[in-house]
């Protein structure tokens, strides 16, 4: 898949994943990987950036093995942002699909 496509939609997919329930980094990566074939390393910086922009909150949970895990939680503003992004994506997708169909018929 085109790398630019992935880059654009990755943010939306991450936001939707975390809308379901809180997750720690690795969980997010494996969830997202099911949808998009993406370089795992790029998700952490994205989580970081969205946290800096206050779309996520983080908290630590002790784990039985290894260091404590950092969980990400979608904030209110994160949810608004997610909905905006989703609407944009859907309408964008729709118009592109429409265009493709029209061109195919002609």
């Amino acid at each position: 898949m085109n790398a630019q496509f992935k880059k654009g939609v990755l943010e939306l997919v991450v936001l939707i994943c975390l809308h379901q329930h809180d997750m720690y980094g690795y969980e997010v990566v494996s969830e997202v990987s099911k949808v998009i074939d993406v370089n795992e390393g790029t998700i952490y910086p994205l989580l970081k950036r969205l946290t800096n922009e206050k779309y996520f909150e983080t908290y630590l949970v002790e784990s039985t093995e290894g260091p404590p895990r950092k969980y990400y939680h979608l904030t209110k503003s994160g949810e608004i942002y997610k909905n905006e992004l989703k609407e944009e994506w859907i309408s964008f997708n729709r118009s592109v699909m429409k265009f493709i169909m029209e061109c195919d018929y002609n």
Partner: protein, 317 residues
């Protein structure tokens, strides 16, 4: 690449990010690799899934809005040297002032005498060179003018620079020999990569420490002086006399030079301000210029008046 190697390389490349954040990121990546290994992948494979290291670093820095085109290698090298020299210079000056405050009046007088001796030696050297060069220049008279003038100028410059360097070196040597007996310059940490990025911080801390030291010893010195005054244990040595002469001269200079200069500067500043205003208001520039000249003359008159009153009063008595 092993996990440790990967984390270490990543850490080195993320030095621009602050300590806490960087630690955070590294923990995340470490955990990720650990979990991948637990899910059955080899260490090698888990790390390969991250793809190209530089691309990853760019992504991370991008998330912090850091411009990834920034060439931090070249900059850090220059910065390291610069901060080393600045640190050293600051260290030298503060150590010097601290130790000057710690010296007693007698010691200061002795140092002053030695210093005057040093200045005399430098002056004698300079006089000698000037003499030799004067003879040399008159010998140059046989050359045509277009050759003579540049040669003379270049040699003048070289001699001046040489004397500047010599004087600075001698002063440094003198201070190390007589004032700071055990002074050692800081060592340059050339191949430490991590700490150097925070050199600026270190310099600030070092200067702060020194300043506190200096203030403390200044306070101690003042207390000590006050107690000396009470005891009135004055010893009229040559050094003491020199010191008094020097402080008297400084006071005279302050009176004679600073007040007139302040007045003249004030007049000039007012004049320049008025010039700007007048020009913007559309007055003729010649007229405004005369006004400013008048104010400058007024400044000069103030200077002359004070000069004459101080010196005239002196001769009357």
């Amino acid at each position: 690449m092993t996990k440790e190697e990967f984390i270490k390389t990543l850490e080195e490349k993320l030095l621009l990010i602050n300590d806490e954040e960087r630690k955070d990121i590294l923990i995340e990546y470490e955990q990720h690799i650990q979990l991948k290994i637990e899910s059955g992948l080899s260490e090698e494979q888990a790390i390969e899934d991250f793809g190209d290291m530089d691309e990853l670093v760019n992504e991370i820095l991008d998330a912090y809005h850091i411009n990834t085109d920034y060439d931090n290698k070249a900059n850090s090298k220059v910065g390291r040297h610069l901060s080393y020299y600045l640190q050293n210079a600051a260290n030298f000056l503060t150590t010097l002032s601290v130790s000057l405050f710690e010296k007693s009046r007698q010691e200061l007088g002795q140092i002053l005498i030695k210093f005057i001796g040093l200045c005399a030696v430098i002056f004698a050297l300079w006089l000698g060179t000037e003499l030799v060069f004067g003879i040399f220049y008159s010998a140059l008279g046989i050359l045509p003018r277009f050759l003579r003038v540049p040669i003379r100028n270049i040699m003048d410059m070289v001699v001046s620079l040489f004397f500047l360097a010599l004087t600075l070196y001698l002063f440094y040597f003198f201070i190390c020999r007589y004032v700071l007996v055990n002074y050692k310059p800081l060592e340059f940490e050339g191949n430490v990569s991590r700490e150097n990025h925070f050199d600026a911080q270190k310099t600030v801390n070092a200067v702060k420490e020194k300043t506190v030291d200096a203030t403390n010893s200044l306070l101690e010195y003042i207390q000590e002086r006050e107690s000396h005054h009470r005891v009135k244990a004055h010893s009229y040595s040559l050094g003491n006399f020199c010191l008094s002469v020097l402080s008297f001269c400084i006071k005279c200079i302050a009176v004679l030079v600073l007040i007139p200069i302040a007045l003249a500067v004030l007049c000039l500043a007012v004049g320049c301000g008025m010039l700007v205003v007048f020009v913007f208001k559309g007055f003729s520039i010649v007229g405004s210029l005369f006004l400013v000249l008048g104010l400058a003359l007024m400044g000069a008159a103030c200077f002359a008046g004070i000069y004459r009153s101080v010196f005239g009063g002196g001769s009357d008595r």
